[in-house]
């Protein structure tokens, strides 16, 4: 982030009279306009939003557009290394990047629960604004609704985004070929464990920070360097294991991973041991897998590492057979299936 956010800023004057969100803040009347004018619009400030129209009008660049949407319901709203606001921006910008697209504009929909402290909303929208500036994307349109107390959980955020596709080839599971090498852009599982640690009140010697971050820079660097990127996928819900299973099925290829090659920080793996999670299934918010031909692998690792906060690593490769199946070479050298996650990750009981 360019400059640290000052969360001690006092909310603007008209809002100070209302320390909590009221139903009327979503009602379309004066209170709603106060909220928009003093809290939300200033945080997102840009020339398109400032037009104050029902829909945003964008200049359309030539070429192909990517379009995506995602909703954010994380609890707690603030966690070590991130918060729902920045995550909602990074997540959608990252989804666009997975098609080789660079984000042009985002929409932000906020669903607020009656009684939400105004201070909390202030922090969330400031974080959204800062993250958008960091990613060089404008928030072109938005919406705010308020639901009765007990019908929401503080704040839900939806972001949609459009982006311009920068890569000349189509980046998708269909592009995956036998012989491709699979690279991840850093250590896995930190986001899920950071959130779980807060939720479960676990304390470790050092705090586990979420990996929540934009990855577009690394992806654009790959494309600009002429790396023949076949497929990209972010490692969010279901973690690495579910992602590679989706790609194996969609592409009709087999995938094999090396357990010892998968980077996991020791504090994250310790937290996983305690809670009965497998880091291969834990969600990340700033990690992706890249499928590239063997000849480009070494250069791709260098480029990703140079443009990411963490070290990239080769974790496996695509094989022809058996189609749709992911296998893992375990720590002790044996082979087994790496299945898609079933249900939620449930804690062990003894």
């Amino acid at each position: 982030m360019d400059e640290p956010l000052d969360f001690n800023l006092t909310c603007p004057a008209p809002i100070r009279r209302y320390p909590h969100i009221l139903l009327a803040h979503g009602g379309g009347g004066r209170l709603m306009h106060d909220l928009l004018d003093s809290v939300i619009t200033p945080a997102f400030k840009n020339e398109i939003l400032n037009q104050g129209h029902d829909s945003a009008v964008l200049d359309v660049p030539t070429g192909r557009l990517a379009f995506t949407t995602d909703s954010y319901v994380v609890h707690p709203l603030f966690f070590p290394g991130g918060d729902i606001g920045s995550m909602a921006v990074y997540g959608t910008v990252n989804d666009l990047a997975m098609s080789g697209a660079s984000a042009v504009a985002l929409s932000v929909g906020l669903i607020l629960e009656e009684g939400l402290p105004m201070e909390t909303l202030w922090r969330v929208v400031q974080s959204i604004g800062a993250a958008a500036r960091q990613c060089g994307v404008r928030i072109a349109t938005g919406d705010t609704k308020v639901v009765e107390r007990g019908k929401g959980d503080g704040v839900f955020v939806n972001t949609s985004g459009v982006g311009v596709v920068r890569s000349s080839n189509v980046i998708s599971p269909a592009g995956v070929l036998s012989g491709d090498v699979i690279i991840v852009n850093g250590d896995l599982g930190r986001h899920g464990m950071a959130v779980m640690a807060v939720r479960e009140g676990l304390e470790f010697e050092s705090e586990i920070d979420s990996d929540s971050a934009p990855v577009a820079e690394a992806v654009m660097a790959l494309i600009d360097a002429g790396i023949d990127v076949h497929c990209l996928r972010d490692l969010t819900r279901g973690g690495l294991a579910s992602t590679v299973n989706e790609i194996a099925k969609a592409s009709g290829t087999g995938i094999t991973l090396e357990e010892t090659a998968v980077p996991v920080r020791s504090d994250v793996s310790a937290a996983c041991e305690i809670l009965g999670f497998d880091p291969l299934y834990v969600a990340c918010e700033g990690r992706f897998a890249a499928f590239v031909p063997e000849r480009d692998a070494e250069r791709a690792v260098e480029i990703i590492s140079a443009n990411s906060p963490a070290e990239a690593a080769v974790i496996g490769r695509v094989t022809g057979e058996p189609p749709g199946l992911v296998t893992l070479t375990s720590r002790i050298g044996t082979r087994r299936i790496l299945d898609m996650m079933s249900g939620e990750q449930l804690p062990r009981i003894c």
């Binding site: 479960e200 720590r331 002790i332 044996t334 082979r335 299936i337 249900g343 009981i349």
Partner: protein, 363 residues
């Protein structure tokens, strides 16, 4: 990670596997009792490293799997009552009852909570005096001290809105039941390390002596399990039948005396029905008379009749080690982790779930 990574070392694992290969002169069948060990074996492919003379038989040591259907139905009935907050470890939530599972009750508006510790349920009852908080006390001797301390604390604090639905089970009576069975093929046991961390292993000594069977207290990492198998095979080859301790870094012969004392204060042994196996004398724990007011089965009006198992689920045969999970006709067809017929397909320690997750295509 200290005390973990060295027990997952590839070279050490291979060296021990070679030693097993060298020691074996004939076929042996060894049962790992605990579901945690079964998962480690299948997840790490430990059996792939073993000579073909060694057959591993998966034991009944998955507490979720052996909890009888009628107890699950009672849990579901409690969770459906509007004034009850029903707390459970996560594994129990997807176990199918006769008609419902706890997750569906939760989705239909029941107050069902996943907790990591029974003490969380005690806290909930203290902070919600208008709710009846029930904790589903499932598990072997490993979790029993924790539920004992919950009942004990609730009594100390005078909490009248806390109770336990108790389904605790004990390992030694189950081992004896397996050994007494006329079809028993098991020649040696890997005893469950974490159960022995609480109980010690003196209670296994008479079993080993009477049935002339080696019992090796074993941990859960690949090196632990391979070492446990090696110790067991050495005994079998030498014609010995002793109780040995592979898991010395965690288990002492006397176990954890204060945990045992607490368990004894709160619980007493009782006969218990095991899902798919039947009633095993003295194989369960129930709350002592002094704690009767914390017993959900006495406190609430519950249907106490036994319930028949669905016939297509062969969990009983899997739990007794008679068939491997992938030998069940329903395996991976009518029965998957998302649509389980029986508990072994659900639990993180169930043998069917382990086979489904880690080896369904090459089986």
């Amino acid at each position: 990670m200290k005390y973990v990574s060295e027990y997952r070392d590839a070279d050490t694992s291979r060296r021990i596997a070679e030693a097993i290969d060298k020691a074996v002169t004939r076929a042996w069948a060894v049962m790992e009792v605990c579901g945690g060990q079964t998962h480690s074996i299948v997840k790490n492919g430990i059996d792939q490293l073993l000579p073909e003379e060694i057959t591993l038989i998966h034991g009944p040591g998955c507490p979720v799997c052996v909890t009888p259907l009628e107890t699950i139905d009672r849990a579901i009935a409690l969770a459906k009552s509007p004034d009850v907050t029903f707390c459970s470890f996560g594994d129990m939530l997807r176990v199918p009852g006769s008609e419902w599972d706890l997750l569906s009750v939760k989705a239909a508006g029941g107050d069902v909570r996943i907790v990591y510790s029974p003490m969380d349920a005690v806290k909930l009852s203290a902070t919600n005096p208008d709710r009846q908080v029930v904790f589903f006390a499932v598990g072997f001797e490993t979790t029993a001290p924790a539920t004992a301390i919950a009942a004990h604390t609730a009594r100390e604090q005078g909490l009248m809105n806390f109770s336990l639905l108790t389904a605790h089970v004990l390992v030694p009576p189950a081992i004896e039941a397996i050994l007494k069975s006329p079809d028993c093929r098991v020649q040696g046991f890997l005893a469950a390390g974490h159960v022995c961390a609480v109980m010690g292993y003196t209670e296994y000594e008479p079993i080993s002596a009477e049935y002339k069977v080696p019992i090796v207290v074993t941990g859960f990492e690949p090196v632990d399990i391979l070492q446990g198998i090696l110790m067991c095979v050495n005994q079998l080859e030498e014609g010995r039948a002793d109780v040995e301790n592979q898991y010395k870094r965690v288990v002492q012969r006397e176990g954890n005396p204060s945990a045992r004392a607490l368990m004894n204060r709160v619980y007493e042994p009782c006969d218990r029905k095991w899902r798919g196996i039947g009633t095993i004398p003295g194989s369960g724990l129930k709350l002592r008379e002094e704690y009767a007011e914390y017993d959900a089965e006495r406190k609430f009006d519950l249907d106490m009749r036994p319930v028949e198992e669905p016939s297509e689920c062969k969990a009983g045969l899997v739990l007794q080690g008679v068939i491997k999970p992938n030998e069940c006709p329903a395996f991976g067809v009518q029965c998957t982790p998302d649509q389980p017929l029986g508990a072994p397909m659900v639990s993180a320690e169930g043998a069917c779930a382990a086979y489904y997750r880690y080896r369904r295509s090459n089986s």
